[in-house]
């Protein structure tokens, strides 16, 4: 048969590609929680859960329908999935909001901060709220805009849920955490709440990073921008841009900084049974330079050595015997 070995090679190639690509993964399901105040909150969601709301106008004695300010819409599904799912709206907001139209002075009510509830509470000792507060105070955001920039800027009061600590899926954590930053850094409307400056274009500012899309899907902004702290899970000390990580090898090397940040709680042993360095990195992504296989390394050195040895012996014999 003409060219048949070539054809066999090509078939083999096709089969390998096919089997390699025909495996996919399966998702998991979340558990359901039943909130205690669904009924009370329903009163607020009646208006704040929709794009439009209705009320009875006593002056004109008519039912009217109006548009809800999009920034005042609270997604009920997200709310009940959040950390503070089992709250009543009026735990954080004044009881007077039950009346409509809301009293104009209510907008001036002081909102509770995280530390008002979580400060000094042993239940949350693990989270080190005080230390986070301290780091936040020293971060660029707080440094420059201490009063306007509160924890709520990043932790949406109606949807924030912890993910880095609980999620099995690192990719989801990365998306979730990056969206927090991008909610301002990619959205001029929210950015302007804080600053009148022009919002720097994130994609352009990170031009120097090749495979940008891949990187942003596989590392969080804080990996490069926040100073890691051993006692807290998510570093909050966002540093000035001059101090951001720019050296590729900080991640792309065996002592990758990711082991101390993104993969902090997954990082267990240095080398696992299969002989991979940084196994926790490995489960989810392949970071050139950071995960190498110990045994493959040894084998490859051995194979090179053996090949060279055979070549040397052969060459030696040729010289000796042939003359």
């Amino acid at each position: 048969m003409k060219f048949s070995l070539i054809k066999k090679c090509l078939y083999l190639l096709a089969i390998m590609l096919f089997t390699a690509t025909s495996y996919t993964s399966i998702g998991q399901e979340a558990e359901k929680r039943i909130p205690d105040f669904a009924e009370e909150n329903g009163l607020c969601f009646k208006c704040h859960g929709h794009k439009t709301y209705n009320y009875y106008n006593e002056w004109t004695e008519q039912n009217v329908r109006e548009r809800m300010n999009p920034y005042f819409i609270v997604d009920s599904i997200e709310f009940y999935e959040s950390n503070h799912w089992n709250f009543q709206c009026t735990d954080c907001h004044s009881m007077d909001y039950e009346n409509f139209p809301h009293d104009g002075e209510l907008r001036m009510e002081e909102k509770p901060g995280c530390l008002d509830c979580h400060g000094g509470d042993d239940t949350y000792a693990d989270y080190h709220f005080e230390e986070i507060e301290d780091e936040f105070q020293r971060s660029v955001h707080s440094d420059k805009h201490s009063v306007d920039f509160t924890c709520w800027m990043c932790h949406n009061p109606h949807s924030y849920k912890i993910s880095a600590r609980t999620s099995e899926n690192i990719k989801e954590v990365i998306v979730y955490d990056n969206n927090i930053c991008l909610s301002c850094h990619a959205d001029i409307n929210k950015y302007q709440l804080i600053s009148d400056q022009e919002n720097p274009n994130i994609l352009e500012k990170h031009d120097w990073l090749p495979n940008q899309q891949l990187h942003f899907a596989n590392v969080r902004c804080i990996e490069c921008h926040a100073k890691t702290n051993d006692s807290i899970m998510v570093a909050h000390l966002i540093q000035p841009k001059e101090l951001a990580v720019k050296m590729c090898v900080e991640c792309h090397s065996q002592n990758s900084i990711l082991e101390a940040s993104l993969y902090k709680f997954q990082a267990r042993e240095n080398r696992n049974k299969l002989g991979f360095f940084n196994p926790s990195l490995l489960e989810n992504s392949y970071i050139i330079g950071a995960n190498r296989n110990y045994y493959l390394n040894i084998i490859s050195i051995f194979v090179y050595g053996f090949t060279l040895l055979v070549i040397l012996i052969h060459a030696f014999l040729r010289i000796i015997i042939k003359k």
């Binding site: 690509t21 489960e283 392949y286």
Partner: protein, 202 residues
């Protein structure tokens, strides 16, 4: 040999040497990325990545030329394999390399027109050029455009899977190159084959 055989047309020679140079660049930058570290700075990581990408794309163009050339020109005749008795012929060639060569036997399959390779050369070139090389290129492009890779393969990250394959293939090919270069010294004189690959004549 008095009669001069024209075995390596110009395009093969040009292909071959550009391919070899790019291949060496790929191996060096590839190793440098794989063993990157904060302390060892052989080639700066981002430069290594850029060089590796460029060389990879160029080598793919060359590969296309190689395939094209070996489809439409007469050089393809050299790549025909008669499967009947192939094993026997390979054993014969192997015996020559491991024994006969030392006692000044004549090579069993000296190059002639349209059969410039001996059976072992032929099989190894075909496997390397039609199995390993395309796979190396495909996995390489997968890594260059990771959005084309399936997110998970056999339960692990698709990129990871592809990257391991890519490095393994690169490793095999670098071993091939080592052996290949040595084998090329086994001509009438150690320099014979190299000269052929430069001036085209055997």
């Amino acid at each position: 040999m008095s009669e001069k055989l024209y075995l390596y047309p110009v395009w093969v020679r040009l292909w071959h040497w550009s391919n070899a140079i790019l291949f060496i660049v790929l191996i060096i930058t590839g190793l440098s990325m794989q063993y990157s570290g904060t302390e060892m700075k052989f080639i700066r990581f981002d430069i290594a990545v850029a060089m590796h990408n460029i060389a990879g794309v160029l080598v793919t163009f060359l590969y296309a030329i190689y395939i094209l050339g070996n489809t439409i020109t007469v050089n393809s005749k050299n790549y025909r394999i008669r499967e009947k008795g192939l094993i026997g012929r390979m054993i014969k060639q192997f015996r020559y390399y491991s024994y006969g060569i030392f006692i000044n036997e004549k090579p069993p399959f000296p190059p002639k027109k349209n059969r410039k390779f001996n059976p072992m050369q032929l099989v190894s070139y075909v496997i390397v050029m039609y199995l390993f090389f395309p796979f190396l290129i495909i996995t390489g492009f997968g890594l260059l455009y990771p959005e084309t890779i399936f997110p998970t393969v056999f339960g692990i990250s698709g990129i990871q899977f592809t990257a391991i394959f890519h490095s393994l293939l690169g490793f095999f090919l670098s071993v091939f190159m080592l052996i290949h270069i040595y084998m090329c010294t086994l001509g009438e004189k150690p320099s014979t084959h190299f000269k052929s690959m430069i001036n085209g004549y055997h």
